[in-house]
C-alpha cells in the first residue's frame, strides 16, 4: 500500500483517559528523550470516561484503613474471580497514585475542615475510602493530567481513530497501528516500538448505557482480531439509575447519582408503588446489581412509566436538603427538563462498565510482544464486579505502570519492525468496505443491536436468550457487512464512524454473549436465570475468549488464589 501516510514513533499510546495520560507522563518522566505519541479518537483529555468519573477514587489512606482491607473488599466485591496479584497491585498503587496526583500533577481533592483528605462512603466498602473532588472527580484528574501532557513535547494525534493492530511481517510481534485521521478521512500507519492499548472498553452496545459517545469497544475488537485473549467478558456492570427520556435523545442512559438512593430516594414502579422490598431487605439501598435486577424485573413485567422505565423520586424528602446535597444532579435534570426535587424522574438500569478485557500482566504486557494494555480495556483486576471508585484507580495505577514498563522496553528490546503489508491492506479494505456497498440503514442496525443485547444478553440471561442473542449477533454482523454508506466526503464523516463503531461493538458483543453462555452460575454482575446460584467459590474459573477464523472460542481457566482463598481474609 503506497497510498497511506506512514510515520514512526517510539511509543504510541491509544487513548487519553486516565490510563493513556498517565502512561505518557510516566514514560516521559522515565526517559524525557523518548518520542511519545498519543493518538485519540476524540480530543485529548476531552473524550473517554475517566473524565466522567463522579463518585471518586478508592485509596486506602484513611485512618483505620489498610491495603489488606481495600484488597479484601475488592476480592469480595469481585466474587473471587479477580486476578489477585493484579488486585493487590491496584490497592498498593492507588495510594501512591493519589499522592502523586496531588503533589506532582496538581489535582486537589476535597478536604475535611482540618485540612486532611476527605473520604466518602461508597457501596461495598468496609471503610470510607473514596477520595473525590465534589462529584466531578474525573474533570479534576483529567484536566490536570492533560495540561501536563500538553506542556511536554508529547505528540498529539487528536481525532485519530485506531482501526487495527498491525503485526510484524513474521507475525511474532506488533509492528504498529493503522489509524484513521477523522478530520481528513485519510489512513495513517504508525510504526512504533511499543504500543499501549488504553481505549477504555465501554459497554455501549446496550440500549441504555453511560459511557461517553466516543467509546465503542474498538480496543477490545482490535485485540480480538490481533489474536489476544479476553477474560471475564460476561461481566458487564449495570448502574441502577440511568435517565430515560426516549430513544431520540442522548440523555437516555446517562447516570443519576447513586447517592440519591443512599440519601433516601425511593424507586417506584409505573403505578407509583415502591417495590425494592420484594428483592432485598435493604430496599433501595441494596447493591447496584440487586437494584438493577429488581428494576429490570418490574420492567419486564410491564410495570413501567411512559418511556418503559421506572421512577426515582425524592419528593418525600426535604427539598432544601435535596437541592443542597445534589445540586449538580438537580440542575442537570432541570437542564434537560426533569424535576428531581419534587417530581418523579423516569430511570432504567444502564450499562456502565466492563470488568472483562485483555489478559495482561503486572507490567501491563500482553501476549503480543510490543503491545501493552491498561485501564478498562484490560480484565482481571475487578473479577465479577467492580467496586465504585476502583475504576479510575485501575486506569491511573496501571496506566502509570504501563508507561514505565514501556519506556524500559523501548530502550532494551523494542525496535521498529516492518509491518505485515497484507494486514494493513486488509484493514484498510475492511474500513472502506461500506463505501462500495448500497447505503444501508445503520440506525436500524444500531437499534436492533441495542435491543437484542438488552433483552437477551443483559441484566438477566439464560441459555435460551443467549443462544438467541448469539444467532442475532451473527446475523447483524453479516448485515452490517453488507450495509453501505453514501459515498460522500470522507473527512469528518460521522456516519462512517458510526459504521466502524458498530463493527467493533458487534464483535465485542459476540464475545460477551459467548462468555455469558459459558458461565453457568450467577455471580457479581452476571446473572443466569437458569443458574441463579453462585456456585463453588473454591472452584472458581475465569472465562477466556479468543477469535479464530472469525469464530469466538471460549475456554476457562481456574482462578489462582495466590494471596487468599475463599473463606479466608487478609484484613
Amino acid at each position: 500500500m503506497s497510498g497511506i501516510e506512514r510515520h514512526e514513533t517510539e511509543l504510541l499510546i491509544l487513548g487519553s483517559g486516565g490510563a493513556g495520560l498517565l502512561a505518557a507522563l510516566h514514560a516521559h518522566d522515565k526517559d524525557p528523550s523518548l518520542e511519545i505519541t498519543i493518538a485519540v479518537k476524540g480530543l485529548l483529555g476531552k473524550s473517554g470516561c475517566t473524565r466522567m468519573v463522579q463518585g471518586g477514587y478508592n485509596a486506602a489512606l484513611a485512618p483505620g484503613d489498610s491495603l489488606q482491607r481495600h484488597f479484601m473488599d475488592t476480592i469480595e466485591g469481585g466474587k473471587w474471580l479477580n486476578h489477585q496479584e493484579l488486585a493487590w497491585r491496584l490497592v498498593e498503587g492507588a495510594v501512591e497514585r493519589i499522592v502523586e496526583l496531588e503533589n506532582r500533577w496538581g489535582c486537589f481533592f476535597d478536604r475535611n475542615p482540618d485540612g486532611k483528605l476527605h473520604f466518602k462512603a461508597f457501596a461495598g466498602q468496609t471503610v470510607d475510602r473514596t477520595v473525590h473532588k465534589g462529584d466531578l472527580t474525573g474533570i479534576e484528574i483529567i484536566n490536570r493530567l492533560a495540561e501536563q501532557v500538553w506542556a511536554r513535547g508529547i505528540k498529539r494525534l487528536e481525532e485519530h481513530r485506531a482501526l487495527a493492530l498491525i503485526p510484524s511481517r513474521e507475525g511474532e510481534q506488533l509492528s504498529g497501528v493503522l489509524l484513521l485521521d477523522v478530520r481528513t478521512g485519510e489512513f495513517r500507519f504508525i510504526a512504533a516500538k511499543a504500543v499501549l492499548l488504553a481505549t477504555g472498553g465501554g459497554p455501549t452496545m446496550y440500549l441504555y448505557h453511560t459511557p461517553s459517545g466516543d467509546k465503542s469497544c474498538d480496543g477490545l475488537a482490535m485485540a480480538l482480531r490481533a489474536g489476544l485473549k479476553l477474560r471475564d467478558m460476561e461481566m458487564v456492570q449495570f448502574h441502577p439509575t440511568g435517565l430515560i427520556a426516549g430513544k431520540d435523545t442522548r440523555i437516555t442512559g446517562t447516570i443519576i447519582e447513586e447517592g440519591l438512593r443512599g440519601a433516601g430516594g425511593h424507586i417506584l414502579d409505573g403505578a407509583g408503588e415502591r417495590f425494592m422490598h420484594k428483592y432485598d431487605p435493604r430496599n433501595e439501598r441494596a447493591t447496584r446489581d440487586i437494584v438493577s435486577r429488581g428494576m429490570y424485573d418490574q420492567m419486564r413485567a410491564g410495570k413501567t412509566g411512559p418511556n418503559g422505565g421506572v421512577f426515582i423520586t425524592m419528593k418525600h424528602l426535604d427539598p432544601a436538603m435535596v437541592r443542597r446535597q445534589f445540586k449538580g444532579m438537580v440542575t442537570r435534570c432541570a437542564d434537560v427538563g426533569f424535576d428531581l426535587v419534587s417530581g418523579n424522574v423516569e430511570v432504567v438500569p444502564t450499562a456502565h462498565y466492563m470488568m472483562g478485557g485483555v489478559v495482561f500482566d503486572l507490567g501491563c504486557r500482553t501476549s503480543l510482544p510490543g503491545l501493552f494494555a491498561a485501564g478498562e480495556d484490560t480484565g482481571g483486576v475487578h473479577g465479577a464486579n467492580r467496586l465504585g471508585g476502583n475504576g479510575v484507580a485501575n486506569s491511573t495505577v496501571y496506566g502509570g505502570i504501563a508507561g514505565e514498563t514501556m519506556a524500559t522496553f523501548v530502550k532494551s528490546e523494542g525496535g521498529i519492525v516492518a509491518p505485515d503489508e497484507a494486514a494493513i491492506e486488509a484493514a484498510v479494505a475492511d474500513a472502506l468496505r461500506p463505501f462500495s456497498r448500497k447505503p444501508g440503514d445503520l440506525n436500524d442496525i444500531r437499534e436492533r443491536l441495542y435491543r437484542l443485547m438488552w433483552d437477551d444478553v443483559g441484566i438477566i440471561r439464560d441459555e435460551a436468550s443467549l443462544t438467541r442473542g448469539q444467532k442475532a449477533l451473527d446475523d447483524l454482523a453479516a448485515e452490517l457487512g453488507e450495509a453501505g454508506l453514501p459515498d460522500t466526503a470522507r473527512a469528518f464523516n460521522l456516519t462512517w464512524a458510526d459504521w466502524l463503531s458498530l463493527d467493533s461493538l458487534i464483535l465485542t458483543s459476540r464475545a460477551i454473549a459467548a462468555a455469558a453462555l459459558r458461565r453457568d452460575d450467577s455471580r457479581g454482575a452476571h446473572y443466569r436465570a437458569d443458574f441463579p446460584e453462585t456456585g463453588s467459590l473454591e472452584r472458581s474459573e475465569n472465562t477466556v475468549v479468543t477469535l479464530k477464523e472469525n469464530r469466538i472460542a471460549v475456554t476457562t481457566e481456574p482462578v489462582a488464589f495466590t494471596r487468599v482463598r475463599p473463606g479466608q481474609s487478609l484484613a
Binding site: G42, L43, G45, K46, S47, R51, M52, I98, V99, E102, N103, R104, W105, G106, F108, F109, D110, R111, N112, P113, D114, G115, G134, L136, G138, I139, E140, N143, E147, Q148, W150, A151, E158, R183, S212, G213, D214, A245, G246, D248, T249, R250, I251, T254, I255, R332, D335, V336, G337, L442, N443, P486, T488, A489, A491, F492, N493, L494, T495, D498
Partner: protein, 235 residues
C-alpha cells in the same frame, strides 16, 4: 416540527435548513444528531460525554455560545426555529466542529499547569477548605474547557492573541494554590501583552459559562497581583 438551520462548510459556508420533529426531551445536541442520523449523514459535529463534563459539544445556538448536550431545545427555540453554528473565535474544521488547539495552546501560554513544590512528598498537603486562597481556587477550578467563554469574549475577536477568560482563570487557580512553586512564573505569563490587562470586564464570559465560573473575578485577581508585582519590580 422545528426548523433547524445548520452551518455547513468551513469558514466559507452557508446555512442549511432541516425539519426535525419536536420531542418533549430534546437537547440541541439531539437536534444535530437527528439531522446526521436521519437527514444528512455528512453532517460533522463533536460531542463526547453528553452530560456536560467534557466540554466538546459547544456551538453557537441562535447567536449565543452554549453547551449543546445540556441545552433543552425549549430554552432556545424562537418561533419554531433554531440556528446552529460552530463556536466563534476558533477555526472551523468542518460544519459544527471547530479546531480547539488555539484555545488549549493559550492555556499553556498562560502557564496553565501546576508546578510542583514537593513532587516527591509522600502525603498530601494539609490545606483547609476554609483557607481564603483555597476558596478562591475552588471557586474557579471546575472549568470544563468548553471554550464557551472564549467564543463569547469580544476581546478575543478583536485581539486574537488575547489569552482569553478560561486560560486566565486557570492561571488564577494556580497562583491561589499554596502548593504551586512558581507564582512569579504564572504572573509573568499573564502579564504579557495579550494577558490579563487586555480584559475590559465585559463579562460575556461570566454570563455564558455553563458551569457558573466567574472568569472576570479571576482576571481581576490576576490584574491586582500583576500590578503589585510590577510595581515592586518582581516581574
Amino acid at each position: 416540527m422545528l426548523k433547524v438551520e445548520i452551518w455547513r462548510g468551513t469558514e466559507e459556508g452557508r446555512y442549511e435548513t432541516y425539519e426535525v420533529p419536536s420531542q418533549p426531551s430534546q437537547t440541541v445536541l439531539d437536534l444535530v444528531t437527528f439531522v446526521q442520523r436521519k437527514l444528512d449523514p455528512s453532517l460533522a459535529y463533536r460531542f463526547a460525554c453528553r452530560v456536560g463534563v467534557c466540554g466538546s459539544c459547544a456551538m453557537t445556538v441562535n447567536d449565543t455560545p452554549r453547551w449543546t448536550c445540556r441545552t433543552h431545545v425549549q430554552k432556545v427555540v424562537e418561533r419554531g426555529r433554531v440556528r446552529i453554528a460552530p463556536l466563534r473565535n476558533l477555526p472551523i474544521v468542518k460544519d459544527l466542529a471547530t479546531d480547539m488547539v488555539p484555545f488549549f495552546d493559550k492555556g499553556q501560554e498562560a502557564k496553565g499547569r501546576f508546578i510542583p513544590s514537593d513532587a516527591a512528598a509522600t502525603s498530601v498537603a494539609e490545606i483547609s477548605p476554609e483557607d481564603p486562597k483555597r476558596k478562591e481556587a475552588d471557586a474557579a477550578i471546575e472549568c470544563i474547557g468548553c471554550a464557551v467563554c472564549y467564543a463569547a469574549c469580544d476581546v478575543v475577536s478583536w485581539r486574537p492573541e488575547y489569552l482569553g477568560p478560561a486560560a486566565l482563570n486557570r492561571a488564577w487557580t494556580l497562583v491561589s494554590d499554596a502548593r504551586d512553586s512558581d507564582r512569579i512564573g504564572h504572573l509573568q505569563a499573564v502579564a504579557d501583552d495579550a494577558g490579563c490587562h487586555a480584559c475590559h470586564g465585559h463579562q460575556n464570559c461570566v454570563e455564558h459559562c455553563p458551569v457558573g465560573i466567574n472568569p472576570t473575578r479571576s482576571i481581576s485577581g490576576l490584574k491586582r497581583l500583576v500590578l503589585m508585582a510590577a510595581v515592586r519590580g518582581r516581574l
